[in-house]
Each structure stands twice: as structure tokens, then as C-alpha cells.
Symmetry: C2
Subunit: 347 residues, 2 copies
DNA sequence: GTGAAAGCGCTAACAG
DNA sequence: CTGTTAGCGCTTTCAC
């Protein structure tokens, strides 16, 4: 194989017409490919002098290692984050937390947005794994701990939000039973008796997901007061616009409630739109405390979750796993009620 | 090299302890590796019978091609999207458009969030290129057409939002001069004379960026009326919270204006927070028309940009480039004013 | 310390 | 139509 590199080791003859490889760097620096690889990986056995020459050669050629080639043998230095809904500001907070935690490491974060459909998120997670990410942060995919097992067997995974017990992977959750209790108790304390709940489609009380726990808490609280009524449970897909439509229709159908506990803030904000338009009085409490919730124009009471801290911790757990830890860790954060009343005072 | 595959071609002896490769599929199906590769790539020269057997073998083994290995020779079937601010709902609209446009193709979208710093976005774009994405959608990175050139030379790039003339890559923009004119004329028509402008740090009128064009339009309009005043130009970093702080401080310092043209809706919403808190009367117009802008609680007048359509078109242009097109294309979309007045009527 | 060489899983050119 | 084979750029023994 002939090389474009000049015979005089240490000096390239012509500028390369292709991306430089480790071989070109080696030629320019006048060392072996293995030596370059060692400098690249900060491996044992490189003299300071060699390191300097190699580094200079890399800079001169503007060399960048090809991740695909590294992936064939080792790491990709990539952490994949699967997000169920990038429009939801709570999820972007998690992402920011993870990015911050990884900013001083060689790891790069890439995001795979979940597709629509029942096994939502699975395709995105698989796409990440196919691309050989070194670790995955999976944010509350409907496939639970069981569904992630085959993947976690070969790639470190941190499950975000799912409460399923898990052996194969770590998890980060906030206490959703507690958070939902805070929300409902707040409404009860204000004197509301008929409280509706707006949750997602297909959520069941049995489910070990954030929304499953919130719905279960709601169900228990209502039954405990003999106030449970199927008609008070509203459902919509994710997204402000569909939540709006669901509540608008419920209102038009004569929803008999004085308060609404929305399973997350996007739903709550959509609900507020319908409520404002209909001109009815319905106290709303949301969940997540997204940034806009505290805006004076909305004044949405919400259950705060420390998204950034949770995302950062997820990243840390992943790094530990990549470094070799094998026992599963499960960390639980504590939600807090943030009471606001400016625009839509709960009665 | 000994194989875990049984001697009887067509039947695997033991379950594999590693991820199956094309070789395992070939063994199970009783064909050559090349044949499997052909089925995989939908290449010419496969009999239906063979295709069936190979497909069955893939399903049986739960085979998934390794993208890194494919990347060494061909494509990764990955489109990388660099986003300057994932919390900004306008950017997520672009992303959704691109995802929709690619949903019926074998391409997977991954997002690289831009980091902080002056050459914001460059690192994310480079990370994408290092990972061998087949194409990049770069959303308004501060490095302009010039800065992206070395990258576009080897990877198809669609620049989003930048108005720089470009040979090396395609671009998608909306007419920001027109959009800004719509916003300012609206305010002028309402009788406002002292109009402030809230833009980002470091933006100049000369810049061929969305915010450069908006600032330039503002400057021209004000100068044309002899109403230009440096003190009316407010600046903040991206983000509702910092925009809030900037406007709060300006108000405290006695900002002498009756209206504010914010360079994008996130800034506008942050500004509204400060304005509401301060209890002053300041008409606000935003830009982008993010979903929350039309919420009755906000009623923010804004300049609409068709984000989904623009994102979808960006993806299409990229596919064309990947398919071989070489001439650069530049498409310009038209913004529209959306007037709203519910909560913060512009006087 | 350094260098030679094998091989990761796939594609594509080529020979049967 | 099917099979053989040569790499892609990198990491990682294993000699020197």
C-alpha cells in the first residue's frame, strides 16, 4: 500500500485529501501507530518527548479519531439519552443535569427522541445501542424493568422514573406516591371534594411508572373518602394541545369537579387553556414544576422534582457502571409541593 | 477460528454468549456472509427463497447490525441534529419536523445539544461528525457558513437559520428581515414610539444570523424615525430566567419604553415575567410563536415561523444530498404575524 | 520504551 | 445467484 506521506518521516509531502488517520499522525510524528494510539488513550508507556511530538502532529493534521473505528475495539465515549418527549421541559431539565455532570469527562451526550407508538422509546433505545453508546439513560419508557433487561445485560442502563425492582440496571426515581399525595392533600385542604385526575392513555394503577403511582395514589385517596368516580378520570396523550382537547371535551360534557390534579405540567397547562376558554372555575395542580409553571401569568401550583440533580446523578451512576460496578443501585429523590395562586387560585 | 455454530449448517448448537454477527446469521441460514449482507442492504441478486431464510435466521437470533461496523465501510443511517437550546420550543418543533420527514426512511435522528461558550454548537457538530453521521442539520450555530465549510466538505450539512451565502451546503431560513418588520410595524401601528429590543449577547447588526437580521431591522426602523437609542437595546443570554433578570434590571434602572420587541419567545416570556412583577405597562411582541405563546394566560403576540415544515424540508434536502445532489440549495420560508391580546394587550 | 500484526463486523468487488 | 476476500481505522497483545 503506497502512502501519500513523504519518504522523509516527519514531513508530509502533500496535504491529505481524506481525513487523517492514526497512521498519518504516526508518519508525521515519526513514530509507530501503536504509539499514537497510546497517546490517544493516555495509556501507560509513553515518553514525554513522544507525547509532545505526537500531540503536535495531531494538531498539525487536525486529526480526529473516528469513533466508529474505536467502537470496533473499545469505547465510543458516548452516553445515549432516550427522552419520551423533548417538548416537555421536565425532560430537558434531566438532560441538562446529565450534560453538566458529563461536561468534564470525555463523554459526549446524544439524545434519541422516542417515537410514537405503544412500545414507545424502545426503538430509540435500540438505535442508541446499535450505535454502541457506552451507556444509556432511559427516561421512563413504557417497557419496564423487564423489557430493558436484555439490553441492560450488555450495555449499562440507568432507568429514569420507573419504580420496578431491578437487578440488571440502576434507577433514579422520585417518590411519586408521596408527590401525588402532596398534590391531592393540597386540594383537599382547600376544601375540594370532587377532584378530577388527568393522566395519560393506557396508564393503570398497577403500573410501576410515575403515572401509575400518581394514578394509584389518586385512586386510593378518592376511595378512602368514598369519592371515587370513573367519570373524574380524564385521559389524553402527551402534549399540551391534546390535553387541552381532552379537558375541553370533558368540560363540554359537563365534568362535575371543582379541582383537577394533572399528572404532569404539560397536561396541566393544556388543561388551563381549556378551563380559561370555558370560563369555568377549576383549581389545577400540576406535577414536575417546569420553569413556566412559576410564571406569574400561569401561577401553576405544582409538585417540584429536582430534575437537574436527578439527571446528574443518573450520569454518575452510569459512569460508575462503566467503570465496573456490578451491584444495582436505586436512588430515590423527594418531591416538594410548590404552592402558587396568582392567576388560577385553587378556589 | 472455531465457531459456536454447530457443524450442521442451519442449526445453532448453543445460544450465543455474544451479540450475533452477520456470520452467525449466515451459518444459521446456511448461506454466505455476502448473501446476508445483500439481504441487509436490499442489494441486487437475492432469491426470494434465500431472502426468506436469511430473514428468519435474523429473527431467530435477534440479529441487529452493528452501526459502527457499517460505518467503517458505508453509511450509519444516522442524521445528526445540532440544537442550540433544547429548552426552546421552537427548536423542538424543527426537530419534530425532521423526525417526521425521516420516519419512513431507515434513518435515525440523534440530537447533540450545543454546549455553552463562544463557538457554541461547534463541539456538538464535531461530535456528530466524529460519530460518522450521514448528514448534519446545524441549527443556527454562531460559526457561520465559513465556519461550517471544512465540515461540509466531507459531510452533507443543512444550515438552519443562517443567512450567509453558501456554496458548500444547503440552508433553510425564514425571512427574518420581513418577520422583524412585521413585529415592529405592529407596535408602531399601535402608536408606540419608544420601542425597546431584547436580543442576545454579542449579536451585531452585521451578522447574517436570525438575531442579526432582527436587530438590523430594528435598528433601521428606529433610525428611520430618528428614534434610535442605545439604551433601548437590552441583551441577555438564552433562557427565560436570564431574560427575566435582564428586563427586571432594565426596568429598575428606569427603562424608558412603552413596547418591547423580543428577539424570540423565550426571551419575551422571561420579559413578561419581569413586566408583570414590576406592574408596569409594556407591550411585548415575541418571535417564533412557540406553542405556549398562544396560551390564553399569556396571549403573546408573536411572529410565527413554520418550524415543523422547515425542519422537514431540512431533512429532505439532506437526503437529496446524501443521494448525490451537488449544487447548493437555499430555501426561504415566510413568517407571519400572530396578533394576540388577551393578557398583555399592547396598550 | 517502541513496532508489527491480528482482528473487531461489515461492505463491495470479483470470481465462480 | 452464491461464495471468497480485501480492507475500513482503531486497540491491543506480544516481541523486540
Amino acid at each position: 500500500m503506497s502512502s501519500e506521506i513523504g519518504e522523509d518521516r516527519g514531513v508530509p509531502r502533500t496535504p491529505l485529501d481524506r481525513a487523517p488517520t492514526i497512521r498519518d499522525v504516526a508518519a508525521v510524528a515519526g513514530v509507530s501507530r501503536a504509539a499514537v494510539s497510546k497517546v490517544l488513550r493516555d495509556a501507560y508507556g509513553v515518553s514525554p518527548a513522544m507525547r509532545t511530538r505526537v500531540t503536535a502532529a495531531m494538531a498539525e493534521l487536525n486529526y480526529r479519531p473516528r469513533v466508529a473505528a474505536r467502537a470496533m475495539r473499545g469505547r465510543t465515549f458516548t452516553i445515549g439519552v432516550e427522552l419520551p418527549d423533548i417538548s416537555n421541559q421536565f425532560f430537558t431539565r434531566i438532560l441538562h443535569g446529565a450534560i453538566d455532570a458529563l461536561s468534564d469527562t470525555p463523554y459526549q451526550v446524544v439524545v434519541a427522541p422516542a417515537e410514537e407508538g405503544s412500545r414507545r422509546g424502545l426503538k430509540a433505545i435500540e438505535a442508541l445501542v446499535d450505535r454502541q453508546v457506552d451507556g444509556v439513560i432511559a427516561v421512563a419508557p413504557p417497557i419496564g424493568a423487564r423489557g430493558i433487561e436484555p439490553i441492560a445485560a450488555s450495555t449499562p442502563v440507568v432507568m429514569f422514573g420507573r419504580h420496578d425492582p431491578a437487578e440488571s440496571h440502576d434507577s433514579i426515581t422520585a417518590d411519586d406516591l408521596r408527590g401525588a399525595t402532596l398534590a391531592i392533600d393540597h386540594l383537599l385542604a382547600l376544601g375540594h371534594e370532587r377532584i378530577a385526575h388527568l393522566t395519560l392513555l393506557d396508564i393503570t394503577e398497577a403500573e410501576e411508572s410515575p403515572h401509575g403511582h400518581r394514578l394509584r395514589t389518586y385512586g386510593r385517596a378518592m376511595r378512602a373518602r368514598d369519592a371515587y368516580d370513573d367519570a373524574l378520570i380524564l385521559r389524553s396523550d402527551d402534549g399540551q394541545d391534546v390535553a387541552y382537547a381532552a379537558v375541553r371535551d370533558a368540560l363540554a360534557a359537563g365534568l362535575d369537579a371543582t379541582a383537577l390534579f394533572a399528572a404532569h405540567d404539560e397536561l396541566a397547562i393544556g388543561a388551563l387553556r381549556a378551563i380559561t376558554e370555558a370560563g369555568v372555575s377549576l383549581a389545577v395542580v400540576g406535577y414536575d414544576d417546569v420553569p413556566i409553571a412559576s410564571h406569574p401569568a400561569l401561577g401553576l401550583t405544582s409538585v417540584h422534582q429536582p430534575g437537574e440533580a436527578m439527571g446528574a446523578r443518573a450520569a454518575e451512576l452510569l459512569l460508575e457502571r462503566i467503570a465496573g460496578r456490578t451491584e444495582a443501585r436505586h436512588e430515590v429523590f423527594t418531591p416538594e409541593l410548590r404552592v402558587r395562586t396568582s392567576t388560577f387560585p385553587p378556589t
